[in-house]
Symmetry: C2
């Protein structure tokens, strides 16, 4: 039997996929170390040897040599003689100087809390159909700030696309509610697109400090109001022209989503609109890959969350009193916008 | 930016590889849950739905549906309507009924201890050039038995190949020493090939109980003697015709390997031979993939272990007083045999 992870797996019998999965967390560990030590930025345009990179990152030469070799095997670096260089993709997404830098996501995606949630006893959440997840983590735990900060880099372009979409509508929204705002980027992009819009951002207080800082950096702080608390409990008022619900429904079961959507619907102005952002798997639930796989993420991390299909979302909308939904994918991101029809 | 993990990554700029690595431990978690719940065996030849598999594995239908969909996305299962089936590779390597079943490796490869070792602070072992690893774990910790048990499924065919190799030699070995025997499979295969050979197996006592059980199952227990203790400290006697050193050198630095090889050399009979089993990367240290990547495994798990190149191994041999080495790959396994010349 073979353990060579580079074998072609399509069709032929090979344990390559299995070995890749069994050893999957080694890849996470290596990319986490490289991002934390900022190896990709140190390599930059001019490249480096294990010795020069060790010196630049204050790491041992031995550790740096082994890490970089592993990253070459994994396709993240090139090696010529003893000199490492960036691949085109690493240059775009892993060099901190790049505007498309995605490295900050690692702080949350591979946080020790997350690793334990997934790996300590994966049979348990499959058996139980969900987990307590991070629900026991208090609202002011730093993990939520890491989450908000890490996810910001992933959704920046989606947030811009959402604002561009709204900018095509005939009427400019003035009162905007951003639910589970996190990093705040969705509301902030809307504020940038509509100079008269006022944003109310709901989330945990510690996280909203990050959203406020982002709003200041974007020059919209004077129209940005934070409302700390749970979206299910806080009184956010009424008469909203636009309610944003980015990446939030998937944390809950359908009944809970319906309850939230009812509360949202009751707080809309006469011409108000709701836009959610979600990963929408096809009805087969096994495609496209990222949205379909996201369901497992929710199984491990939440009591009853899921990645919802268009049919699921339409059912939620109907039960909450909306006329229906329409969706629009946000390529190249795996997210979609969901518009709730009045 | 795209997060679609199915994109072609060769040449084109895409975060697909990065997302795959960042999320790597989700794959480990899913395959671990599926193996522990024995989902692949339950699917077997006739397939199953989430409901039937949940019932067969005593798991929730919701958890089973989400797990199986994730395994379809990952290429481990097929889905037709709501019915899951095995891929040809899953049938061979993950159905417990299959003689090539590899699932038992997960107990060690993805043990919580291992996950923490890799993921809690990966920058630390890169910075330090190694880790305390499991060295602080006492010799009777159950993790070693999980290790020995788990690795057995991976090396079964290599152990057979080693014994077949020795069977081609002109002289049959009588006194055989198996160092860090673990599951014992290498020594046991030699015992099976040479009905007059007596095997002395060195390892921790708890692990040797497994080796003894395997020797009984193979019908060679009457010629199988265990010698519990550290290979560096125990007095294993002399006059050995064959010393086996399977997957052990990579745990130590070159100096320590030399010390051990000197001790081994001193205990050989006049015509005695030494065979090690190792993953041997090329001198570029980034190919072939599995042996090259194995170096990172040792960085995370040991103080100064490494995957050694042929040049490294030749240096060790020379310093220990051997004439040199020759090697033979063991395809389709990523291992090689190393013969030490007298």
């Amino acid at each position: 039997m073979s353990l060579n992870a580079d074998e072609t797996v399509s069709g032929e019998i090979s344990p390559a996929l299995l070995v890749d999965a069994m050893f999957g967390f080694r890849k996470t560990a290596a990319i986490k170390a490289a991002i934390e030590l900022d190896v990709f930025t140190a390599i930059g345009g001019s490249g480096g040897t294990a010795a020069s990179l060790a010196s630049a990152t204050k790491a041992s030469e031995r550790g740096m040599r082994i890490l970089c070799d592993y990253l070459v095997v994994g396709g993240f670096l090139t090696k010529t003689g003893d000199r490492y260089g960036l691949t085109p993709s690493s240059r775009v997404f892993l060099d901190r100087q790049s505007p498309a830098y995605l490295g900050s996501a690692i702080d949350f995606v591979a946080a020790p809390e997350m690793a334990r949630l997934f790996l300590d006893d994966p049979s348990a959440y499959v058996r139980n159909g969900g987990s307590v997840g991070l629900a026991n983590v208090s609202a002011d735990n730093p993990v939520w700030v890491r989450f908000a900060r890490g996810m910001g880099s992933f959704v920046a372009s989606s947030a811009e696309s959402l604002a561009a979409e709204v900018a095509r509508w005939p009427t400019a929204p003035k009162r905007v509610l951003d639910i589970a705002a996190g990093h705040g980027l969705f509301g902030i992009e809307v504020a940038k697109a509509f100079p008269k819009a006022e944003i109310v951002a709901v989330d945990w207080r510690s996280v909203l400090e990050l959203a406020e800082a982002n709003a200041r950096n974007a020059g919209v702080a004077d129209r940005y109001r934070i409302l700390p608390g749970s979206a299910f409990e806080v009184d956010w008022g009424s008469d909203y022209d636009l309610v944003l619900l980015p990446n939030f429904l998937h944390h809950f079961d359908i009944d809970t989503c319906v309850t939230l959507l009812q509360k949202i619907r009751a707080s809309l102005s006469e011409t108000g609109n709701v836009i959610a952002v979600e990963f929408i798997p096809n009805e087969d639930r096994v495609s496209p890959p990222f949205p379909a796989a996201f369901s497992f993420e929710m199984l491990a991390c939440t009591p009853r969350g899921d990645a919802y299909t268009e049919k699921d979302l339409a059912e939620m909308a109907r039960r909450a009193g909306f006329g229906g939904i329409s969706t629009r994918p946000l390529p190249p991101s795996p997210s979609s916008l969901i518009f709730f029809k009045r």
